[in-house]
Structure formats: structure tokens, C-alpha cells
Subunit: 201 residues, 2 copies
């Protein structure tokens, strides 16, 4: 299990983009960059994730702290929002700014953690059951159904959809829908030795 | 009818983008720029249209000549592909290059013309019936169902979907799906006086 946790954090620690997909299927897919980089001064498994349009990489539309841990023999990725998050926009490109993030800046996002399982050499993560991961979009509350798949070849596929909390009808999300990312930069060498030692225990 | 034709060409002659939509709904909508500019040296109603990702405006993923005309009391927008089209990429930003396009460079695209109707002060265009507007996407043939709406406030909404020619099942296109563009530059002042006089006849 600890070996899997280590492997998961290694595969997550990267810059990904879906340039190929966007170019192959215009105009159906926005061109997105995802940066997921170890927060080496925080608890093992802590990663800063920024998601942005490729044309505006320093203004992420979403910035979060993820923390991959094992709980009851399960791999979980916990999700946290950041207070004063704009201060950290684009810091995945200047990691010295990432070091200013402190534990007290993190707020757990209830219902939005990922349960991760391994399938062959891939990791598949899905938002925990319960339809509790709520977001507002244009004043309408929806719950998120979100899934990702990471391969050991550096690919990541993601699927996000918003559903009506009462009728469960899908309200947004594309039909073809899966974003297909490739790793363009590997950040796994930044994972601290301490974390790896901790995971071996 | 001729007044409508003139009005349609005026409303089409513009640069449009969906920046607001892309920023409001990340990452569901690619950020797209559409340029539609009069080809003043060709037959009345001829427009060069380039559609591109906003981050790569000089490399359109689609470039076409449109020609708005009336036929049997109907407003039709005929679609043409360009031979050696790469030569004209980005020419909507350098209109002197547009002048090099000749009639002999145009090939009618069968089945992909738009039938346009007026609804209040808006124009609504739909690909002609018959499921004959075929495109290949990743080696799979689909027919296009395409619709646009132009308002007299400079807005344009578009919807494109690909369907299986046999089962008619939708194969691509987003579910929320409508792209919402705003006019950012008005090119209608470039419409030649000759065209307007012709339409008055």
C-alpha cells in the first residue's frame, strides 16, 4: 500500500497538458495545463495543483492543495482550498513562492476527496460517494462527479460533470468529455527523501 | 428579402470571441476567435471566415469562404473550401492578403450550406436538411448538425454536433454545447457600396 502511495505521488507530480487533444478536435476541447508539484515543506503527499487555460498559465481557474495518504488500507487524496489563494497563483512556476504556503492556510473541502484504486499499473480516482462535492456555477448548485486515471506512461485522463442534487440530471460537462493529458515535465524528483522514507515504514 | 440579406452580411462581418464564456466556465469551453470579413473583390455576400483557438489566431482550425445570397425567396449561406488554404491562414488580420483569393480557388462544399431565417431581429441558420454535411474525425465519418444565431446586438451563438450517419447517434459535441460569442470588432464598414446597391435591386 505504501509502495502504491509513493507511486501515486510520483505519477501525480508533473506538468500535464492536453495540447494534442485540443489540436486534434477543435473547437471541442479547451487547451488546459495542469501543474501538480510537491509542497516539500508540508506533510508527506502534499501537492499544489493549479489548473489553467494554456493561454493564461499564471491565472489558474482552480488552485488547490492535494494530500495523498492511506487510510484504512485505502488510498485517498484529500482536497484543500487555500486562503488568500490569489497570492499563490502561478507559484507552480516559481516554487520558492510555494514554500510560503502554511498548514493554517488550508481548509478541507468536504465531500471532495478522491478514493483511488489501482488497476494494473494505472491509478483510478473518483470523488468519494455521497454527492456532497458541491459547486455553484452561475448561481446553480450542482454536485460534482469527477474521475481521473493516471497511467505509468505519464498520461492523465479526467472527467468532470455537474449534476442536479435533487434530480441527478447532468447539468454540465461535455459528452465526449474526457480530457486527455500528457506529461510534459516530471516533478517527481522534487519529492523529498523524508516522504519516501516515511512511506516505507 | 434583399434588406434581410444586407442585414445578415452586416451582422456576420465581425470578429467574435467567447472569452467571457470560457472564463466563466473553465475548463468546459475552449476560447475561440471567429473572424468573418468581406472579400470585397468577389461576388456580393462573399466573406472569408477563420475559426481559431484564441491562443493561436494565425493558425485557424477552419478556414472557409461563405457567400450569402437569396435563392427562391430564401436566405442561403453557401460554403466553400479554399485550395491551398494554408496560404491564407491569418489573412483576416492582413486583409490585403485576402485580395489574392480568386473564384477559381473555391470549391463548393456539398450539403453544408446554411438555410437562414429571420426571427424577430435575429438570424437563425441551420445546415440544410439531408445529413449530407460529412466530416471525418479520427477516421470516423459523421454528419454535422450545425446551427447559429446572430443577434442585432453583435452576439453569435453556435452549436455543432457530429452524428453517426447510420444510427444518427450523437458522437461528438458538448452537451451544454452552445458557444456564446460577442462581437469585438465590426468589419461591416468594409462591405462594398456595390454590394449594397446590388442588394437594393
Amino acid at each position: 500500500m505504501s509502495a502504491s502511495l509513493s507511486q501515486l505521488v510520483h505519477q501525480l507530480s508533473a506538468r500535464f497538458n492536453n495540447q494534442q487533444q485540443a489540436f486534434d478536435n477543435p473547437p471541442l476541447y479547451a487547451h488546459i495545463v495542469v501543474n501538480c508539484r510537491p509542497l516539500v515543506h508540508l506533510l508527506p503527499g502534499s501537492l499544489l495543483i493549479e489548473q489553467s487555460y494554456a493561454m493564461d498559465p499564471l491565472k489558474p481557474y482552480r488552485i488547490r492543495v492535494l494530500r495523498a495518504q492511506t487510510r484504512d488500507e485505502k488510498l485517498i487524496i484529500f482536497s484543500y482550498s487555500l486562503s488568500d489563494e490569489q497570492k499563490y497563483w502561478g507559484s507552480v512556476y516559481e516554487p520558492e513562492r510555494m514554500l510560503k504556503i502554511e498548514e493554517k492556510d488550508l481548509q478541507a473541502i468536504e465531500g471532495c476527496n478522491y478514493i483511488v484504486r489501482k488497476k494494473n499499473s494505472n491509478f483510478i480516482g473518483e470523488v468519494e460517494p455521497g454527492c456532497r462535492c458541491l459547486v455553484d456555477r452561475k448561481g446553480v448548485t450542482t454536485y460534482i462527479v469527477s474521475k481521473f486515471e493516471l497511467t505509468n506512461k505519464g498520461e492523465m485522463r479526467t472527467l468532470d460533470r455537474g449534476h442536479n442534487p435533487v434530480t441527478h440530471e447532468q447539468l454540465w460537462g461535455s459528452l465526449g468529455g474526457v480530457f486527455e493529458f500528457n506529461r510534459t515535465t516530471d516533478f517527481s524528483k522534487e519529492i523529498p527523501y523524508d516522504w519516501i522514507e516515511e512511506w516505507k515504514k
